[in-house]
Every structure is written in C-alpha cells, then in structure tokens.
Symmetry: C2
Subunit: 375 residues, 2 copies
C-alpha cells in the first residue's frame, strides 16, 4: 500500500475548493482535463438544422454510467397516491411525441469571463439542436396521483460522483409547475435513433427552454416532494451568485444567444478565418429559452455598427434554434463578426458581460476574426 | 470597412509561427479553442470493445467540409495507365471488408510534455477503436495501372485551410508499398453505419497501424507520384524532430500504449477517483501499430512495482486494441495507477518521456490518481 500521508483518506479528499482564476492565469491542467472529455459543437456544424450524432455538445459531470438498457426501470414515487415502476417498453407504448429542442450548457461562455470561474472552460460552443422523441411526463405524474401539496419533482440519474466534497447521484429538482408543462418529455430517442450512452441512454428528461443541467440523463427515478428540494445541484451548484456568500437565484431558462457560423476557411491553430473578396452569405443560429427569437442583428466591425439579419421561418418550433442570414460583400481588410439575438420577452445579449461567481447563463456576443485578403 | 492596420492583409496573416510554451505557461486561449472542438474518448468508454458513435476521438485540422455525399466521386490519377473516376455506388459494389482498427492521434500526450509544443493539447485520450467497412485500395490501384516507378500515393481530402501560413487542401502521401498493403481500405462505413460527417463522410482512407494523420477523411482524389511527395503534412507537419532545423523522420506507425479505465467514481473537477475498499478489477486497453501487444504490466504505486496483467484474446484482430485486466484488492490509502504495454517487436512505453519538437508519437504511461477511503 502506498500513501502519501499517514491519514486514511476520505471521499471528500478527491475534491478541491471552488476558486476563481488569478487575473492573468491561463487555463489550468484540470480545466484542460475537462475540455478534452466534454466537447462543444464544432461551429461549422451550425450548418445543420438538426445537429448530427457526435457533434452535439456534451457535459458529463461524472462518468457515463454503464446502464443496462434492456432491463431499465423508471420509478415514480414520493408524495404520490400510486407509486409506479415503469419499464422502457411500457414507456414506448405510451403516446409518442417528438420535439426539436436546443440545449445549451448553463456554463457556456465561462472561460471568457474575467475573473474566470475554474470549472468546465466553455468558450461559446456548448450548444446543440436535436430531435428528442419520448412520452410526455405530465400524464405519468397524473397517473401516479400528484397531490395539491406537491412542490418539487426530483429527477435522479444513474451517474455517481463527488463535487466539492459531496458524494452524490446526479439529481435535480424541478418546480412542479414546470414538470407539468406539456412539452416536458421522458425521451428515449435522439434524432430518430435510441439515445447514445453519452446522451443518457436509455432515458433522459427533456425540459424545453431550460439550460442543460435540467435535462437529467440516465434517468432512473422521479420523486415528488412537498418541500423544496435542497440537493447539491439545485441549492449549491447551479445558482447565479455574486460571491460564495450570496444564496443567489436558480439557473433556469436559456438566455438569448446568436452564433455566427464562421465563414470562409480557418487557420488550424488560431481558428482565424480567411474569406475571399466578394459576396458572402453570413449565417448562423439564434435561440432563447424565454420566448421565441424575434430579431438578430449582425456586425462586421466588432460592434461599431449593427444591421438586421433575415430570419428563416421558425420551422423547428418554439424551442429550437432559428437560422439567420445576412448578405455581406467582403472587401480586403480585417473584420470582427458578431450576431446578437433578441427574443419576444425583450431579452437580448449584452455587449459588456455581467459576471457571476459560477459563470452561468452568460450570453455575451461571440467574436469571429476574419481576414479578407486581396484577390 | 474596418482595418486594424493600413496594409491589405494576406492569407498567411491568419497564422502565427509555431512555438513552445514557456516553462511555466499554462494552456493558452488558442489551445483551449482547439480542445473545445476536437475531443478525446471519455476514459470510461474504454469499457466498450468498439467505441460508440460520438465517443471516438476527433482531430479536425480545418472545418468539417460540406461534402455532397450523393454525387461524390473519387478520382485516381497521376502516374497510372488508366485514370479512374469512381462513384460511391461503384465503390460499394466492389468487394466489401470490415476491419476493426484502433486509431490514435499522432499528437496524443502532447500537453504533458515539458516544454509543451503549442498545438492541439491532448493528454492521453486521443484514441478510439471502430469497425471500418469499405473496399481494399490495392486492387483499385492495380486496375488503374501502377507503374514500377511509382514512389508515393497522395490522398487529398475535401477539407481546406491554412497552417503556418500555408493554404492547402489536407493532403498526405503514403509510400506505395504501404498503400498496397491488403488491409488498407477505402472506408464508407463506421460501426455498421454510413460515415458521420466528422469522420470523413462519405469516404476516407484507413491505414491500419498508422497514426490518425494517414487516414485521410473526405477523400476525393488519389494521385500516384514517381517522386517523393513534399506536401506540408508530410514534409513539414508530421515529423519527429529535435528542433525546427532538424529535417526529422516521418511519423508513421502507432507506438505501443496501454490505458487504464479509471476505476470507481470521479470528482467532477479534479477527475480523481474514489474506489471502495475490497476487490476491484482494474482493466483497460492496449494497442500498438508496429506489432501485436504481447504483454501489459500494471502498477498501483506510481511505478515502484509492476505486475503482469491478464490479456483477453485478441478478438478484434491485429490492428484493434486488446483488453487487459488485473485483480486488485483495494485497501484504504492513496494510489497512482498505470499500465504499460509491450508489443511483439519489443517496443514498450517509456517511464521518462523522450521529447520532440512537434509532440508526436508520445507514449508515456498514463497516471490515474485514486483514493480508497476507510469503509
């Protein structure tokens, strides 16, 4: 046996305290370790209406669990009249619906913050848009018999790990009014195929409009509570706080964001773009979890001037991203491209970034550096 | 028009010179940008014999190109008697074979080097094992009529970009003797499904045993040359050099490597592992592109002592990884786990890392930190 100190270690010893990066601190080894296993959408994949398998962003808190997909059972319990145990086959026999839903990680943009919260270091790419097929949750909850005193519905996944010293199964509570929204799904297919292991096979929750942490993967249990759920992922992790003493507010729906599909072709290392002089269609995607996107503006001069983009029809529905486009005539020079979305609730993207301790719900405009050489 | 300087920019302006990180320099913004779009295998996915879609490592030099997969034509030309233009449908009518092949990025391990070459910052995870289906290349070359003076065969993809100031289609030359190996494939399926866009749809080269750079994706042309190919990816990029003045030697076959599937469960941020006391099967995968793996050794004390692991049968063939396992009885303490592969050519993994300027063909043993708490 090899010990580096004499004390018998405890589970909590695998965790370090949360911290902010020093003002000039580059990405740490532990942030890189997360970046090599989780991944974003390659921005050129914004060309696809529906993100193909393997290109959708992934954020996995612990390990992808080894779930037996054939014998999987979902339990529904807690404050209900009739606890249920439902097999996957039984879920597949229930009414089947498909929703196109844009998912975004609540920490998207974190690595661009100053100071930078040290966690999964996303830039802008933690997003994807997929077709999720499953059965609506609300009828199942009603069959179980939800009492009038129900407050939160707690969803538990099969993934297990430690965060900041707290050992846990991944578990999220959702207010009962949100859990009863008709578009909330128990999903067993993504893009017409059974869920992949990394997307929650064989069953996950889909809460259209909410950031990714709500869409519990590898779902194995649903529990109705008559008191607010105080588990780690609700009470500690996913909160917008000024500092660690601030109780903060829960992270819920996705703030509006637009991304530019980088035009032209890239340099390998810098990812700066080359665009040939002449007509160039700029395009990309825009989404919001609060309300439909109603406008997108584009700048090619780093924000000095903005022009309205055209919006394609919202073919994917209210919870899917929407394509925008703008015809640009590229002339030799250097440019910084950005797009900015506004939704029907009046929310838009800030030009200067508000900051919070966890680096959540950021939606600062993206910057795409482009060189247009002489012909 | 906005220019930050008065000079009309050139294509090469998107590139910066290659460089080594400063001795204490953490991961830079540009390295992070690559890490968020390319991705490794999550190490728990070493549990699968064949890596599922979306979990295989990906290294994309430029953008995933937008290839029309229905009208795709492969040309075979250069120093041949009968130039060919072959449709995908025609390739599918030719003899069909499937090989299980482990692919590893030539830059795997780069981010652990001191000093660190600044490029795609892999730790240990740039690997995957898939079933590739296609038609053998050699008969097609023979049909085209390969002369006795053929030296190199050049494979060109549909991906286009800039590297170190050089604009290029991704293009690799392969010595003709290697191109004529019977197991080299023109692959159109991965794991029984049409290639995904990010894996080279609709057609890629598979060169079993070689690092990833040889397996040209989005393959559109094959050209036989009677002089050695001096393109960027052969003559400049993928070479093992002491310094930038050293012409170096080409990167070719995969050096032996074993990975440990991290046991127990992880901490979110540090990825350190918790293993409960008691019996614990350690396992993982081992591979080499030079010759079959003949032994794997395991250490739980950071390399102070090594014990032989059991090897599962080589069910995937000579070019697929092989599972190893070792029964460990975990008692409370702190451990560093590693595994070390040796192949039939006598090659093994170094305990101290040799270094080269590009950070290629590294195979230093992995280190997995584990805590075993009191029961």
């Amino acid at each position: 046996m090899t010990t580096v100190d004499d004390r018998t270690p405890a589970v909590a010893d695998v965790s370090d305290p949360s911290r902010l990066a020093e003002p000039d601190e580059a990405i740490s080894a532990e942030e890189l370790q997360l970046a090599t296993r989780n991944h974003g959408i390659p921005l050129e994949a914004l060309r696809y209406d529906v993100t193909p398998a393997g290109l959708h962003y992934l954020l996995i808190h612990y390990d992808i669990p080894d779930v037996d997909t054939t014998d999987h059972v979902l339990t529904v319990g807690g404050a209900v009249d009739r606890p249920l145990a439902v097999t996957l086959a039984e879920l597949r026999e229930r009414p089947r619906v498909t929703h196109q839903v844009t998912l975004e990680c609540a920490g998207n943009g974190r690595a661009l913050l100053h100071p930078r919260p040290v966690s999964q270091p996303w830039l802008v790419e933690a997003v994807g848009n997929a077709e999720w097929t499953g059965t609506p949750l609300a009828p199942l909850l009603r069959e179980a018999g939800l009492g009038p005193d129900a407050v939160d519905v707690v969803f538990t996944g099969a993934d297990h790990g430690v965060e900041r010293g707290v050992e846990q199964d991944y578990q999220r509570g959702l207010p009962v009014t949100d859990a009863l929204r008709e578009e909330v799904l128990l999903a067993y297919e993504m893009n017409g195929a059974p869920l992949l292991p990394q997307h929650g096979a064989p069953l996950r929750l889909i809460v259209p409009g909410w950031y990714g942490m709500a869409h519990v993967k590898w779902l194995r249990s649903i529990e109705v509570r008559t008191e607010p759920f105080e588990g780690y992922q609700n009470a500690v992790a996913y909160r917008v706080r000024r500092d660690t003493d601030d109780p903060g507010v829960p992270v819920t729906r996705i703030e509006p964001r637009a991304l530019v599909r980088p035009p032209g072709f890239p340099d390998f290392m810098s990812r700066r773009r080359v665009v040939r002089p002449g007509p160039c269609t700029l395009d990309g995607r825009a989404w919001s979890g609060h309300a439909p996107v109603v406008s997108v503006e584009v700048t090619v001069d780093g924000g000095a001037s903005w022009v309205p983009a055209e919006l394609d029809p919202a073919a994917g529905g209210d919870f899917a991203w929407r394509r925008w486009r703008h015809e640009w005539t590229a002339t030799p020079g250097r440019y910084v491209l950005s797009a900015r979305a506004t939704d029907a609730s009046g929310r838009t993207q800030p030009v200067e970034q508000p900051w919070n301790r966890g680096g959540f719900a950021n939606n600062l405009v993206q910057r795409v550096e482009v060189v247009v050489p002489a012909e």
